[in-house]
Amino acid sequence: MIASHRELGLTDAEYELIQEKMGRDPNGVELAIFSLMWSEHCAYKHSKLLLKTLPTEGPRVLMGPGENAGAVDVGGGLACAFKVESHNHPSAVEPFQGAATGVGGILRDVFAVGARPIAILDSLRFGEPDSPRTRYLLDRAVAGIGHYGNSIGVATVGGEIYFEGPYEQNCLVNAMCLGLIEHDQLIRSAAAGVGNKLVLFGARTGRDGIGGASVLASAELGEADADKRPTVQIGDPFEEKKLLECSLELLEQGLLVSLQDLGAAGLTSSSAEMASKGEVGIDIDVRRVPLREADMEAFEIMISESQERMLCVVEPDRVDDVLALCAKWEVNGTVIGEVTDSRHLCVLDGGEVVGDIPVPALVDDCPLYELEPAEPVTPVYPAPPRQIADGLDARATLLALLGSANLASRRWAFSQYDWLVGSRTVRRPEACDAAVLVLDPSGDADGPRPGLAVSIDGNGRRVAADPYRGAVEAVAECSANLACAGAEPLGLTNCLNFGNPEKPHIAWQLTRAVAGLADACRELGAPVVGGNVSLYNEGPDGPIYPTPVVGMVGELPDVAMAGRIGFSVAGDVVAVISAASYAPSLAASELAKLRGEPIEDGELPAAVLGELRALHAVIRQGVRSGVLRSAHDVAEGGLLVALAECCLTGAIGARLELGGDDEAALFGEGPGAFVVSAPRDALTPYGQAAKVLGEVGGDVLHVDGLLEVAVDELIRVHAGGLTDRLR
C-alpha cells in the first residue's frame, strides 16, 4: 500500500501546500503522483532558481532548455539535438542496468524531439581502482553502456573516466547523446487539441523502477541500498531499437501532434508535462495500459519507470495509421486516454476516477527553495591516499602520471563500445581531443564535408578545490578540445552532480560552480541548451566531489581537416601556443593527487576567459587551415604529459628543450596552453605566441638535461596503466 507523505520524501509543509492546492486531502494515487512531481528529480526545487542564471540564448540555438533535448543549427537545414543526463544512483545500486538504462533514457530524450541519435558519450566517476567495489562498478557500468549502445546501433564515440575516493560509494554515470534532424521536423512535447487521443507505445508496463526518481535520485545513498535494487529499471535495447525506428517513422509520416518519452516518474511526469506545456488537461485510463503483471494497482501503473515507452498525442482520424505502424515495428500501441480542456490530470481505473489533480499544481506549484550557501571553514574531503614518493626525478614522475588511473589509456573501455556504426566517425577515441563526426556519411559529397566535434569534460577534484574556477575550467576544457579538432562551439549541455544541497557547504559549491559555468558559457560563446541536475550524491562517508559535467558540440567546415593529437612527421617543429595568462600550478593537479596532498593546498590559476576565447580561435584556425599538423590541449598532468601523449599517440619521438626543471611548468595544470606540431617555418606567423620547443623525430622523447624515454615505453606505460589495475 501507499506510504505516508514523509516516506515518499515530502515535507510536512509541502504536504500542507498540496492539501491547499487540492482543497482536500489527496488520496493515495494523488499523493504518489505529487511525491514524484514534487521530487528534486522532477521539480528541480533546489536548483531551478540557480539554473535560470545560465545563458541559454545564442544565434544558433533552435530549442533551449525545457524540451526533451536542446537543439542547435548545424547548417544545411540540419539541427543537432543533444543532452546529457545522469543515472548515478541506479548505477551505484546495480551498475549494469543502471548504466544501460542511462543510455536508453538519453537516447529516448533525443528521438523524442524527432532526431535520429548518431552518437553517445559518457562521463564516469568511480572510487580508486584498488577497491574491489570500484572494479565491480566500473566493469559492470562499462558493460552496461556497451550492451545498450552497441545493440541499438548508435556509436559511443567518446567520454571520460576519473577515479577519486569520494566517488567510492556514489559512482557517477552521465550519458550524453547527439542526434540529427531537419529544422522543420523538430517536434515538441506540448499536448494540444481537445479530443485528440493519447497513445502509449513501446514496452509493457511492469513494477520495475517504481519510485526510482523519488526514492533513489532525490535522497542520499545509505546502508540498505541493496534493498533498493528492485527500484532500478531493466533495459531492453532491442525493444528500444524498434521504438526508435517506429517513432521516427511516425514523425516522418506526419502522424503525431506531439511526442514525449517516459523517463523518471513514468506516465505521471510525461502526461503532466505534456498537459502543462499545452495548457490542457489529460484523462488517462490505467486499465488500458498493457501490463507485464496483471494485478498492478493504479498508482503503480502511473509511477512505474518501465523502460522503452513513449507517449504521443494523435488526432482521432490518424489513430488507426499510428497503431498500424506500431504493429509494423512490433511494438505495443494503445490508446490510453485523451486531451481534455479541464487542465486536470485525471486518472481513471476502468470507468472510475481514482485521481484528479489540477495540472498547474503538479508542475508549477512545487515550492522552489533558495539555497543557503556557506563556505566551509574546515576541509570537506580527506586528502587522497599517497601513491608516489616526493623527490622522484622528472622521468619517473612522467611515467607515474602517464600510467596513473586517471591518465592512462581508456582503450580497455572503448574497445567494448562500437564507435563506428553510422559511418560518421572521422576521429576515433584517443585520436583527437574531441570526437569528430561527418554530417553526411554518403560517398556523394564533393568538396568540403562539414561535421561536428563533441567533447565531454568535468574535473571534480578541481571543482572541489575551487568550485568557481573548477567549473570555468570544465567549459574551457571542452572549448579547447573542440579547438584542437578545428571546431567552433555551438552550444553545450551540462549535468550538475552534487551532494545534498540542503547542506550549506554543498549549496556553496553548487552556487559557485553554477556562477563559473554561467560566466564561462557567456564568455566562450557556448549557450546552455539543456541538461540535468543530480543532487544528493552522498553517502555515510560524505559527499562526492562537486562535479559539473559539460558536454559541448561544435562545428567544423571540413572534417578532412580535423585535428589530431599525435605528432606525425619527422622534422616538424614542436611548439607551445599559450595565453599570456597561462600560469600552471600544482594545486589540485594530478601530481599533487599522486603525492597525497590535500586539495585545499594552493590556489587554482584564474582563467582569463577573453584570452582563452581568442587563443581557441587561433588554434581552431591553425587546425582548419592545415598549418598545424597536430594540436593537443595541455590538461591533466601538465605540459610534459601532453608532450608524451603527442609522442605515444603518433608513435614517434621528439627532441625538445624546455628550459628548466620547474615542477609547476612541467607538471602544473591550468587553462590556456596547447602543444602543436607544424612544418618548419609554418609557425612564423604566430610570432611570440608560439614558443618553439624542438622537433619531431626518432623513437625517443628527449628533453635536454631532463629526461629521455623510449616511445615504446611511453606507449607501454600508458596502455597498461588502467588494465593492470583491473586485473
Binding site: 532491442f238 563506428l420 559511418s423 560517398g443
Partner: protein
C-alpha cells in the same frame, strides 16, 4: 548493379551497408517480412542484433520470411554476403558451414583488424590476390568461428576458407584464425569484420570496398 540489404528488427548496420553499396551501385532495403528480393543482383545480410539476439544469435532471423527468398536466391547461385550478425544468420540457415561462438574474452570487442586473403573459390574475393592484407574493423561478442575437424577438412579441400585474421593472438579465438568462409559454390560469403565500415579513408580505411566491389 543492384544490392539488396536485409533489414530485420534489431538490425543496426543496414544503413551503413546501403551507403557502402551505393558507392558501387544501387542499393535497396529488403524488409524481413516481405518475400521479395526486388530483383537485386546481390544480397547483403548486414550486422546488428536481429531480434535482440534472443534465443541465440541469428537463430530467430533465420526463420524470417525474407530468408526463404534469400536461401532460394543463394541456391540458384545468387551472390549473398553476410556480415557479422548476417554471417551468424547464414550459418544458422545452413547456407554456410560452421557456427559462431562467444569470443574467448567473453566480451564485445571492437578493433581495426588485419585480414589476410586466402586462396579460395569465393566469388566475392575473386578480384583479390591470395596473401593480400585488408584493414577492416571488427566488432562483436559472438565471433569465434568454429567447425569440427572433418568439416574443416572439407572446407580446405573446397577452398571455402576465405579470410583469416593476420594477427597474433587471434582476436576472438576463431579456429585457425578464420574470419570469413564461403559455401562450396563460392557465391555465399560470411565474415565477422565489417567491410561496409571500411569504405572511406576519412573514417579509417577503404579496404572493405574491395570485397563489396567483387559483386559489381
Amino acid at each position: 548493379m543492384k544490392y539488396g540489404v536485409v533489414r530485420f528488427p534489431g538490425t543496426c548496420d543496414d544503413v551503413d551497408a546501403v551507403l557502402a553499396c551505393e558507392r558501387l551501385g544501387e542499393a535497396e532495403i529488403l524488409w524481413h517480412a516481405d518475400r521479395d528480393l526486388k530483383g537485386v543482383d546481390a544480397v547483403v545480410v548486414p550486422g546488428g542484433f536481429s531480434y535482440g539476439d534472443h534465443l541465440r544469435v541469428g537463430a530467430v532471423a533465420r526463420f524470417a520470411p525474407v530468408m526463404e527468398e534469400v536461401e532460394r536466391f543463394a541456391l540458384r547461385g545468387g551472390l549473398v554476403l553476410g556480415i557479422c550478425n548476417g554471417f551468424q544468420i547464414l550459418c544458422e540457415a545452413g547456407l554456410l558451414p560452421g557456427a559462431l561462438l562467444p569470443n574467448t574474452g567473453l566480451r564485445f570487442a571492437m578493433r581495426q583488424t588485419v585480414l589476410e586473403v586466402v586462396e579460395s573459390s569465393c566469388l566475392w574475393t575473386r578480384g583479390l590476390t591470395p596473401g593480400e592484407r585488408l584493414s577492416i574493423p571488427a566488432k562483436h561478442t559472438t565471433g569465434r568461428y568454429y567447425a569440427p575437424e572433418p568439416v574443416l577438412d572439407e572446407m580446405r579441400a573446397n577452398g571455402q576458407i576465405v579470410l583469416r585474421y593476420a594477427e597474433d593472438p587471434i582476436p576472438n579465438g576463431s579456429v585457425e584464425g578464420i574470419a570469413g568462409v564461403c559455401n562450396k559454390a563460392g557465391n555465399v560469403l560470411g565474415l565477422m569484420p565489417h567491410p561496409e565500415h571500411a569504405v572511406d579513408l576519412l573514417t579509417g580505411s577503404a579496404d572493405g570496398l574491395k570485397v563489396l566491389a567483387a559483386a559489381a
